[in-house]
């Protein structure tokens, strides 16, 4: 009986092995082998694409169409591939000498999808709508006035330097005033973008139709279908099977899927440094990270390079300061955060009075140096935080710090961190502007300071950040930002680990797609080549 069972089981395993190994997938095109030389081909008769992504593009931001992913709605100011501010629906902007008044010139000849003219009234309506929904988004706004049909003036009670970035943020997209209900909710996402929303089936798909009168020229694609496919493996297999033409969005393609996709001759993998940095946070209020020496020791003990290599398959970039590479003009020129120096870490811990007890974990006054690394299950599902935490655990263990990793449900994670009941954690954070990012992480009243249980309180940094938010002169602001970054690397309330690399994949007949750090789609430039 046992023999028969063994034979049957082996048969089954062989059959499944044969099935998964055979078929029309090419066997083993080496990753580094150059793909077929690109020869210009004809445009396909039908200019339509189907793109798969891991979230519903109708959710988030409350617009009913994610502005960067769908391009149904556009903000006043765009960000180029280097994240520099460039004209969008606004063509020009100037600040008064005292930095209190902003004059914004709007683009001429733009219409919303419903035919409503895009003008000063529409913009003022939108700015007040967003300010009411999200107080403080545009700073301390005193008044907004129309100077003429296409020129507005925004007056602040005190200077607010990140104002332009706030205007360029995805959540500040312009919508036709007629599409907004009295209570501020949005009926239909009627914007000015190259595509309009034709239909949306929540949890399934969104169909976008070409806006023939787009101010930036008529897009080549007639229709775009965005398919919400939550499982990353299914998304990959749908692309391999040719059921979808593209995988877009942050987290669209996982690093571990790249080798498989590279084997496919008709699929091209695209990647660029994204605008989403990942930070490790330390609870500076509670023992043992209330001691700056211990925090610095953690910084020296951690090696982000190995994290990127082992947890992210090389798809990441080591951060050297709290400001990410996507804001490189605001990044301090020196590598402020020093990593991968376990000897220095041990030395700092020894100076702080931590002694080896023989167990490998350091001790001080009879108390072992053990900390809790708390992870959110929701984030672990999207980024390899579990593996990252294990690598950090091994690296800290090497210098005598014991780390207990705990993965908890997202709500519990937030609550525990807020109460200060965990010692460390990790999360991604794509801030609105270089200035507001520093405020959110490092100011004692910053959103993340309390929410992530950092509780960092440094009067000097607080003052510098407050000044930074009011400094409209860019050079002076950058100097302040550099100073703040220097203090942060000395005090180490957070440890910037890596800048995410955005990975997408397309079928080789899809042309013109340029990856944007903010995963903003250039749908108006994408086209389909005929497949021979």
């Amino acid at each position: 009986m046992l023999k028969r069972l063994t034979i049957l089981t082996l048969c089954f395993l062989m059959i499944t092995g044969v099935f998964t190994g055979c078929g029309n997938q090419p066997a083993g095109t080496p990753q580094d082998e150059p793909k077929e030389q690109e020869v210009p081909k004809e445009l396909a008769a039908v200019q339509q694409v189907v793109a798969g992504l891991g979230r519903d593009p109708g959710e988030i931001y409350g617009y009913g169409a994610h502005p960067p992913l769908t391009r149904v709605l556009e903000p006043l100011i765009f960000q180029d591939l280097e994240l520099g501010l460039i004209p969008g629906l606004a063509v020009q902007w100037n600040a008064s000498g005292d930095g209190l008044t902003w004059t914004i010139q709007l683009r001429e000849g733009v219409q919303f999808h419903d035919g409503t003219p895009f003008n000063s009234d529409a913009v003022i309506h939108n700015l007040w709508r967003i300010s009411e929904m999200s107080p403080g988004r545009f700073g301390p706004v005193e008044k907004i006035e129309a100077l003429d049909e296409l020129k507005i003036e925004v007056t602040h009670s005190e200077p607010f330097a990140p104002f332009l970035y706030s205007l360029g943020w995805a959540g500040s997209a312009m919508i036709s005033p007629d599409a907004v209900n009295e209570d501020g909710t949005i009926e239909e996402p009627i914007g000015t973008g190259p595509f309009s929303r034709e239909s949306w089936t929540p949890g399934e798909e969104m169909v976008l139709a070409r806006n023939d009168s787009y101010w930036g020229g008529t897009p080549k694609l007639e229709r775009v279908t965005l398919k919400y496919i939550p499982d990353p493996t299914t998304r990959m297999m749908a692309l391999e099977a040719g059921e979808i033409d593209m995988i877009i969005d942050t987290g669209g393609v996982l690093p571990e899927q790249v080798p498989t996709l590279n084997l496919h001759p008709e699929i091209e993998v695209l990647s660029i440094p994204g605008a989403v940095p990942h930070y490790m946070t330390l609870n500076t209020r509670e023992w043992p990270f209330n001691d700056q020496q211990v925090r610095k020791a953690v910084m020296y003990a951690v090696d982000p390079e190995s994290i990127i290599q082992y947890a992210l398959e090389g798809y990441g970039k080591v951060m050297t300061t709290v400001t990410p590479h996507s804001e490189k003009n605001w990044m301090h020129g020196d590598a402020l955060y020093k990593y991968n120096d376990p000897d220095k870490a041990r030395e700092l811990l020894e100076q702080a009075g931590w002694m080896d007890s023989g167990s490998g974990i350091l001790q001080k006054n009879g108390q072992e140096l053990r900390v809790k690394f708390l992870l959110s299950s929701a984030l672990v599902g999207r980024w390899p935080y579990g593996t990252i935490a294990e690598i950090v655990q091994a690296q800290l263990r090497d210098v005598g710090i014991g780390v207990e990793i705990e993965v908890v449900e997202a709500g519990l994670w937030r609550e525990t961190l807020k109460k200060g009941e965990a010692n460390m954690s990790i999360r991604p954070w794509a801030g609105i502007s270089p200035q507001s990012r520093l405020h959110e992480w490092l100011h004692s009243k910053g959103e993340n300071s309390a929410a992530m249980g950092i509780f960092f309180n440094n009067q000097q940094i607080d003052q510098l950040i407050e000044t930074l938010l009011m400094t409209t002169d860019e050079n002076a602001a950058k100097e302040l930002a550099y100073q703040i970054q220097e203090i942060a690397s000395i005090e180490v309330p957070i440890i910037p680990i890596y800048d995410e690399v955005l990975i997408n994949a397309v079928r080789s007949n899809i042309k013109g797609y340029k990856l944007h750090p903010w995963f903003t789609m250039n749908w108006e430039e994408i086209y389909v080549e005929s497949v021979q």
């Binding site: 099935f19 998964t20 029309n24 109708g58 959540g171 299914t234 059921e243 599902g381 709500g411 954070w429």
Partner: protein
């Protein structure tokens, strides 16, 4: 029978009341601030404290919990389950647009499982200890042991990516139903097959089977007319209970195959902490579960005329 049904309906009412209280309480006692989550959903991650407070007032989340419950249950009784915090659409509409997809998948999977399980169970029992018996029981063992997500991905890899015979994901065409129904159906087929086998083996030892055989009935008639119907009573009970497993399995299968059903709605709602949708889905699943079990209980009388629900 009328008495029995009335009693069962009263019990159903209390069960559903308890389910509603427990679901509502659980949602509100789990850590995390719903107002903050809704605000983040609406305005992105960078929400201010003022925005969170604004959302809290707007959603009535600043009211005492029992008032929130009574408002919710009063709405439910009028068919209003509130609005989804993710999409802003009424929960009832959200559920009703997804329910047909799940019903289609669950019923097809159930059919697949019965079509596989009953013949396999019967053959295994009749040909006990034969090669056929061993093969089907190993198959059943594998079916039980294989997780849905693994089987689903394996089927996609073989039949969609390698052979290109069936679509990878989605709903709309009949071909899109095959792989998810197979994935979901095979797991429960395994349990049903094993149960059918043991149940038939038990029945085959009964005196009336010996009588049937001694009357000179051919074996097929003995199995089909006398053994199978009696053997089905425990099977039907388990199939009823499996309905819960089917809905549970549907969550995983719907995510893998991007099947736009109730399971995925619930999965997304849990992930997004969309409390109104979670409450609505759990409540509705409880209603379906209770009704299916009532139908199962009533079907006993048809399968076994000796079973009566009232003493005359």
């Amino acid at each position: 029978m009328t008495h029995y049904l009335l009693r069962r309906f009263c019990a159903m009412f209390f069960i559903l009341l308890c389910v509603s209280i427990i679901t509502f309480s659980l949602m509100h006692f789990v850590p995390g601030d719903p107002a903050e989550i809704i605000a983040e959903k609406k305005f992105g991650e960078n929400v201010t404290t003022e925005t969170v407070e604004l959302v809290r007032r707007e959603m009535g989340l600043d009211r005492p919990i029992f008032i929130q419950y009574f408002r919710w249950i009063a709405g439910v009784l009028q068919g209003d389950f509130g609005s989804s915090s993710s999409t802003g659409r009424p929960v009832w509409n959200e559920i009703m647009t997804k329910l047909p997809a799940t019903a289609e998948l669950a019923l097809t999977a159930m059919l697949v499982s019965l079509v596989i399980a009953i013949p396999v169970g019967v053959i295994s029992a009749v040909k006990q200890y034969s090669i056929m018996d061993s093969v089907s029981m190993v198959g059943a063992m594998l079916g039980v042991s294989m997780p849905n997500f693994w089987l689903g991905l394996l089927l996609i890899l073989v039949f969609s990516v390698n052979f290109g015979w069936l679509p990878v994901y989605g709903r709309g065409e009949i071909t899109q139903l095959i792989l998810p129904a197979l994935t979901l159906g095979t797991g429960i087929a395994a349990v049903t097959a094993r149960l059918t086998r043991s149940s038939i083996l038990e029945i085959l030892k009964q005196d009336y089977i010996r009588t049937a055989r001694s009357k000179g009935l051919i074996e097929t008639a003995v199995i089909n007319r006398h053994a199978l119907k009696n053997a089905l009573i425990p099977v039907v009970t388990v199939v009823g209970l499996q309905f819960g497993a089917l809905l549970e399995g549907a969550v995983v299968v719907e995510v893998i195959f991007a099947w736009p059903g109730l399971g995925r709605l619930l999965f997304d709602a849990i992930y997004a902490r969309d409390f109104p949708v979670i409450q609505g889905c759990v409540f509705l699943i409880a209603v379906m579960y209770v009704i299916v079990n009532l139908i199962i209980d009533i079907s006993y009388a048809w399968l076994d005329p000796r079973i009566r629900y009232e003493v005359k």
